[in-house]
Amino acid sequence: MALCVDIEKTLGSFHLRVKFEAENHVLALLGASGCGKSMTLKCIAGIETPDRGRIVLDGTTLFDSEARVNLAPQKRRVGYLFQQYALFPNMTVAQNIACGVREKKETRARVAEMIEAMHLQGLEHKKPHQLSGGQQQRAALARILVNQPEVLLLDEPFSAMDSHLRFQLENEVRSAIRRFGKTVLLVSHNRDEVFRLSDAIAIMNGGVLETIGEKKAVFADPKTVSGAILTGCKNVARLEKRGERLAHIPDWGVTLETNRDIGEVTHIGVRMHDVLAGDQGRNALRCEVVEEIENPFSYTVMLRPQGAPQAKPIGWELDKNAWSRRRADTVTVCLPPENILLLRE
């Protein structure tokens, strides 16, 4: 069940250019809003038509601009979970699910099966607006799964949810994905959700797919500035190359060693929890504490390297006990070379 996508589309001043492959795993498209991730899903589903390129699903060409193939959405066997679920408001839960059944003779049995599998018993005759958000999502998933798609597209599945509901729904979606067992594309701008649900991550920025890889590898080395920001790196700054492995950071007023050649790299990034206390390593900095921000389970301490009064503060996150033990007006921290992300614009 491989999905190969290589498409281009221009919409006004926006250019979408994505190329990736996914096979029997969960690939997350991680990007800020307006980066083209939903557009990519729509092109795969056949709701939007790319200008150029090819989309092949499990050997079947869904779209090929050169061979002039453009299958109707009805023939693509793509399960699309929309942001607001798109349940038909004039139909009951059972009728909604029945819409997805392909073998119309078996409608009753299939609907009953799916209602049980998705824990919708007792809600069969309710209209969508009578359901809670979670129930709506389960009904929408049931309607898609009963349709036996070859690939599942999840468009920001939790964006309409309160945070306490998100956790529960995420678990439900995870088990639905596991049962499905084929290729899943998950669109999201939430790095935690993406990390928990996916196997691989593709970073999208301004219509371009910048980085793609196994999720831990992408978090460990996001390669681009937008990748670093999307994976939650808060300390990102431009560098000036001073040597193959020596970078001056004008924003912070410091010069740091890196553990890899800088080459064409333009920025560095340091995750807030990758800043280490003490002077026991390389890249040790004596810093003034500008501000301390209390989080539920940690502190974020904003640091300004000494001797650089104009510098932008560097964020440092550490747990409450650790900060209580060290709390001071000036502290020494180090930014170990192995914790420095080398990023391109």
Binding site: P73, F82, R102, N147
Partner: protein, 224 residues
């Protein structure tokens, strides 16, 4: 009292409303998808009958449907049927006059439709026809119903174009509106007053229906 004008008015309004229900909906649906320039031009042309004086509409209709005019002459020659001065001639007039009402309300209703629902239907393998009649139309039904009722009410009251194309022949082409005018002209004030009351009663009921539909639509939106 001769009830012919009432029956005639109701059948003319009824038939033209049925015609306009389908014409208006399909025009609204397809024009909504058209390129912007085409949409702008068609919008003006199709809404024109709403603002033109009915006599101008009647004049234009006579220009094409009259027995010596292009379409009228052809139909007379081919089928031996005169298109003017029969009871159903009025249907041409009412159809043209009420078309914009149906078209406008249907378009408004379609514009409020959440296109994602149609996309969801497509990805589930549902046909375009199914999506249109079972998802889009039910979603927009209150707006479309209100438009239909309004079109019917307007058709019932059509006077100008009707009197020009169907004339006034008692027992043959007379409608409520042409009868009222004729009775007033001939000083039959008592009977004219009765028809006026009948007309007002029907119109009041129809407008009440429109209001109730709109209220229900708003309530439905809130619940949805």
């Amino acid at each position: 009292m001769d009830w012919f004008p009432l029956i005639n008015s109701l059948r003319i309004a009824g038939i033209s409303t049925v015609i306009i229900f389908f014409l208006g909906i399909f025009a609204a649906y397809y024009i909504a998808k058209a390129p912007r320039l085409v949409k702008g031009i068609l919008d003006v042309v199709l809404t024109l009958p709403l603002v033109l004086p009915p006599t101008v509409v009647g004049y234009l209709l006579l220009r094409v449907l009259g027995p010596k005019r292009i379409i009228g002459a052809w139909v007379l020659e081919t089928f031996g049927v005169k298109l003017t001065m029969t009871w159903w001639s009025a249907i041409f007039a009412t159809t043209v006059v009420i078309f914009p009402l149906m078209y406008r309300t249907a378009r408004g209703a379609f514009e409020s439709f959440d296109e994602t629902l149609a996309y969801a239907g497509q990805t589930l393998g549902l046909s375009g026809t199914y999506i249109f009649w079972r998802i889009r139309m039910p979603y927009c039904r209150q707006g479309i119903l209100a438009g239909t009722v309004l079109a019917f009410a307007r058709a019932l009251g059509e006077y100008g174009a009707t009197s020009m194309i169907a004339g006034y022949t008692p027992g043959r082409t007379a409608t409520i509106s042409t009868t009222v005018y004729q009775l007033w002209r001939t000083n039959n004030d008592a009977l004219a007053f009765r028809w006026v009351m009948i007309n007002m009663a029907i119109s009041a009921v129809v407008l009440l229906a429109v209001n109730m539909l709109e209220k229900k639509q708003r309530a439905g939106r809130r619940a949805g």
